[in-house]
Every structure is written in structure tokens, then in C-alpha cells.
Amino acid sequence: MFKTTLLATLGVAVTSAQLLDIPGLLAGLAPAPANDPRFSTFTPPGHNDGKPANIPSIVTRGKSILTDRVVRSPCPGLVRLYPMGP
């Protein structure tokens, strides 16, 4: 299972890399300036926070995903994946 996941991840990563403008993307990578307003504008987790607001409920792998939960992710490590705002 782990090997399958790893291989699939590598496949998706390679595919993504091929579709991306890697040089352009990497050239702009840096922390935002300290006065970036996104650092000081905080919105607590709220309903529908884990998905785009205009998309109805999703069924993933046979499991219905609730759309009104107050959640940003199932695991705190993933909270940091959420690029909507700091």
C-alpha cells in the first residue's frame, strides 16, 4: 500500500511538474513581506472551510463528505497546506 501510494505520488508530482512553469514558479518563491496584510488578517475556521464554497457535497471513494463541518483539515499538519490565508 505504501509503495503504491509512493509511486502514485511520484507520478502525480512528475505530471504536475511537467504541466507547471517550474522556473517561473520557483523564481517568485519567498516569504511574504512582514507587512503583508495576510499575516494580520485572521479568520477563524468556519463552515465549508475545507472546500470551495460553490461546490456541493462530494462523494469520495464511496464516502460522503459533509459540507458544513467546521474543519480545515483532518490533521493539523494539513492546516498548513491551506493557502487561503495565514
Partner: protein, 196 residues
Amino acid sequence: MTVPHLVSGLAAGLNIGADFSVAVGGLGVLSSPDPLGLAFDLNDLDQHNFPIEHDASLSREDAYFGNDYSFNSGIWDQTKSFFKDGKTALLPAARAIANRTADSKERNPTFVYGLQQFILRYGEMGLAIQTMGGDDLTGVARLDWVNQLFTQERLPYNLGWRPRAEPVTLPSLGQMIVEIFAVSPEKLSEGYTITT
């Protein structure tokens, strides 16, 4: 979100390197109902043991108990209790992980722990420490910063935190995984568990 969103957002907010963002973005895309769309959202990630969610989280209850996505103050208090003097460090981080392992093993009859979960759990601890300004060699970071990140899901900018100067990368996280595991009181039994 797409992988480019992730790469630019994690760099801007936390100075996370593109190598980590692309790798974890690949995992995220796998969780999407439409992986070929190369996008995913956080609800997509809520699938037990695939590809990122796992038991014995530092701040969430196991999926077996129903809610594996909401912050759980009791679980987080367990984790936080290992850190003293307002700072994180490698040894208490290892003890906190070992405590969560023991707790889930005792209460959750469906507890799953293999190499995938090992990498994710130690990596998440390393990610929390490093993104909150922790030193790569000692794992020392301000606990109030880490605490706010978990309890409020909020970057502790208001407490003086700023993105660290050096990017958080797969090598830096890999180094911290090794460092935390090396001082773990459960490294022998844990090593046996994840390799057999």
C-alpha cells in the same frame, strides 16, 4: 487548490520549499475524486489512512472514534504536557509522539501504524517545530507559537512569529525525523513495528 497554489502559498506564508510542497501536493491530488484535475481540497484529504490522514494524531482523535478532523483539546493537552519551560525540543517531541502511539494502541482496536504513518507523524512534528522557527538541531521552538498554530489554526504573527529565514525542505524535515526518532524512548519497539 492546485499544486502551484500550494507551492506559492506555503512559500509566502511559511517559507516552505517547493520540494516539500510538490511532494505533499502530489499526495493531496491523489485524494481528489478527479486526480487528473491536479487539484484537491481539504475535505478530500479526510480519508482514513489515505494518503495523509492517520491514527494517533497530535491533536485529533482517531477515525475509529468518529471525528478525526476537529481539533481535540484533550488530545492536544496530552501532547503539549510533554513540553516544559515554554519550549519544544527533540526529546519531549519524541515522548509526545510515543505517548500518542501508546494511547491509540490501548484504546483503538483498529489502530494502524506502519512506515507511512511513521513518516507522516514524525514529519508533522518536525513541520510544526520548523515552521514555528525551531532550530534544526535541537528542535527548540516557542511553545506558545506552536500552541496557537494548533489551537486556533492561526499563524502566530500576533505573538511575534515570522517565517524563518531558511526554507523548510524535505532534507530539513528528514533530518528532524531522524533526530526525533533517534532520541525516542520507543525507537526499538517502534522500529520493529514499522518494519515488520
